[in-house]
């Protein structure tokens, strides 16, 4: 860019690049300058807020302007981990929900990917249609599920006609399984896309060699496809894990954590402690714990990506 052409009495090639040539600013330094606006923005958007949350988590404070924050050290964390039975319950709920939604969506997504990984009539259409759940608005879809799972909803009219009787799909017993099904239907397509991309990247030689040796298609999948796909399956599973821990919209819309806390995940409990009870100090401790859990999972993803 000859932006400095306006500057009088200078070499016409004077510009950022000739500054590089004359050794004033090396390309790497210029490159760093290009990242600077984004870095500054991210420090303000994410960096400072996280640090401030850590600071808040060491205080007792109700968001009041008149009452000062009380320094309590690690007491919030101690209360949370040792005494808060709501936290324990929501931790268990989150673990259960996460385990089943990740396992099921990865298994079904893998199966679907293996099924659709061929040139059949309508294969473009199916892949396009399966993009819909990934880009759709979670709140809107969850409202629809709320209507379907409602006691007077569609699912119960179907079970009624089939003579199975009506079920409280959103009652204490079934609310978590219902939410798991909703979450799985949303995320199976993404898992499928990740694994399809993995399948497309595999070398063809092992398959040709095995086919020549007379392997059946099931043997191909068991002994060649699956082992080669392992890193891709791992990435999909860990991404699902992180997302599942952060599930908020579906739970908030469909059950609001109820009935009586039966579906109150960590994320939802954190939301309530912060924005319904306004106990910001305590909420911050909870959010930092959540943050650390997700951070550990994210580190695992990074490691696996490097391996893949």
């Amino acid at each position: 860019m000859h932006s400095t052409a306006a500057r009088p009495s200078q070499d016409p090639h004077e510009g950022a690049w000739s500054a590089v040539r004359s050794g004033r600013l090396r390309p790497r330094q210029q490159g760093f300058l290009l990242t600077l606006p984004a870095i500054i923005a991210l420090v303000f958007l994410i960096g400072f807020p996280i640090l401030y949350t850590v600071w808040l988590s060491l205080h007792e404070w109700y968001g009041s302007r008149t009452l000062a924050m009380d320094w309590v050290g690690l007491a919030n964390y101690a209360d949370l981990i040792l005494r808060d039975s709501n936290f324990h319950r929501s931790f268990l709920i989150t673990v259960t929900f996460t385990f089943f939604t990740v396992t099921l969506s990865v298994m079904i997504g893998l199966g679907l990917a293996l099924l659709l990984n061929s040139e059949f009539v309508g294969h473009g259409l199916v892949r396009t249609l399966l993009m819909i759940p990934i880009v759709s608005t979670p709140v809107a879809v969850s409202l629809t599920w709320k209507y379907i799972l409602n006691y007077d909803g569609l699912l119960n009219s179907v079970t009624h006609i089939l003579g199975l009787g009506k079920q409280a799909w959103l009652g204490t017993q079934l609310v978590i399984p219902s939410l798991i099904v909703v979450d799985v239907t949303r995320w199976v397509p993404l898992v499928m896309l990740i694994i399809l991309a993995g399948l497309a990247s595999l070398e063809t030689e092992p398959f040709e060699a095995a086919t020549v040796d007379g392997a059946s298609s099931l043997q191909l999948i068991r002994y060649i496809t699956l082992p080669l796909l392992r890193p891709h399956i791992g990435v999909a599973a860990l991404l699902r894990l992180i997302d599942a821990i952060k599930t908020f919209d579906e739970v908030m819309v469909i059950s609001e954590g109820g009935p009586a806390g039966a579906s109150e995940t960590l994320y939802l409990y954190g939301y309530k402690v912060a924005f319904s009870f306004m106990t910001f100090g305590y909420a911050s401790a909870l959010l930092i714990v959540l943050f650390l859990i997700v951070l550990v999972a994210s580190m695992l993803v990074l490691r696996l990506r490097r391996a893949a």
């Binding site: 860019m1 690049w17 390309p27 490159g31 760093f32 290009l34 990242t35 606006p37 984004a38 870095i39 923005a41 991210l42 958007l45 400072f48 807020p49 996280i50 949350t53 808040l56 968001g63 099924l115 659709l116 990984n117 199916v126 993009m131 819909i132 990934i134 880009v135 759709s136 608005t137 979670p138 709140v139 809107a140 879809v141 409202l143 629809t144 209507y147 379907i148 569609l154 006609i161 239907t185 896309l193 990740i194 991309a197 063809t204 398959f207 040709e208 086919t211 298609s217 191909l220 999948i221 997302d243 952060k246 908020f248 954190g270 910001f280 911050s284 930092i288 959540l290 997700v294 994210s298």
Partner: protein, 283 residues
């Protein structure tokens, strides 16, 4: 299936292959139908009157009525809501592109790998952990319920997303291209702007679309920071709180909230899929 490549098995009988095909399509439909059903069902319910929606079992063939949509855009001011979502979505995506593209270019070109990893981490962190300080700050500044606060919070999702996706696109450019540009006297910024950026334009368009979708779909930030400015998912969610839930109206709100992004994203096809595969996690 992979066996399709270089398949050397003996030919099966005609009938056997026909059966196989039927079984294949039946399985595909059995898995795909429940996944797509809600998108169809929200349309059906939104076109029925409250009385029609009370019927059990629900009628499959019925005279459709626009009454839920009329009410939604009249009484519930949905047009205002949609324009809020549009404004915040466009602004946060645009800001994300302006700040993110140069950064992504430099990270790809000079292999600032640590920075790349930090960006990916920023993508994965739970958004709620930042929300308390943001909320307190915006309350202090009396900015809760402004477009500015919403754009700020949505940028925390779109910026890392755009950077992360674009790094991949810029890395795909051959390095000889840059060397040639340098010989021609091109500056680093000039190379970025005139050579690199036009080459990755289609991919950038898809990731901008993705950033817009994430902003449009965002619920939590809009719920806490939106105040009187209602965004589409919040307005749809608020249909629950009415004393006697009007399911038809609620489904109409769901349709006008999610169908626009679905229809907008479908034409992007494989480019969008690539973006989803390489970096799609929630904010």
């Amino acid at each position: 299936m992979m066996a399709a490549r270089g398949d050397v098995r003996p030919r099966h009988s005609h009938r056997w292959r026909w059966l196989q095909r039927v079984a294949f399509y039946a399985t595909v439909v059995a898995v795909v139908a429940p996944i797509l059903f809600p998108y169809y069902w929200m349309l059906v319910v939104s076109l029925k009157t409250p009385i029609q929606n009370l019927a059990s079992p629900p009628a499959l063939i019925f005279p459709p009525t626009p009454m839920n949509y009329v009410e939604l855009f009249g009484q519930n001011k949905m047009l205002q809501v949609l324009s809020n979502s549009l404004i915040v979505g466009l602004a946060s995506t645009l800001l994300g592109l302006v700040l993110g593209l140069p950064a992504a270019f430099a990270i790809a070109r000079f292999r600032f790998d640590t920075l790349g990893v930090l960006i990916l981490l920023a993508r994965m962190l739970p958004g709620i952990a930042m929300l308390v300080p943001w909320y307190l700050m915006f309350v202090q500044l009396q900015l809760v319920g402004t477009h500015g606060a919403l754009v700020f919070s949505h940028l925390s999702v779109s910026l890392p997303l755009i950077i992360w996706l674009s790094i991949g696109f810029f890395e795909g450019l051959p390095s000889e291209l840059m060397d040639a540009a340098v010989v021609d006297g091109c500056s680093l910024v000039g190379y970025f702007w005139r050579v690199a950026l036009p080459l990755v334009r289609p991919a950038i368009a898809a990731s901008a679309m993705l950033a817009f979708i994430y902003s449009w779909n965002n619920f939590l930030y809009s719920l806490i920071l939106g105040g009187t400015i209602k965004m589409a998912p919040v307005a749809a969610y608020n249909m629950i709180s009415s004393y006697d839930i009007n399911w038809g109206g609620m489904m109409a709100a769901a349709v006008v909230t999610t169908w626009p992004v679905i229809l907008l994203s479908l034409p992007f096809g494989q480019n969008l899929v690539r973006g989803l595969v390489s970096g799609a996690v929630k904010g």
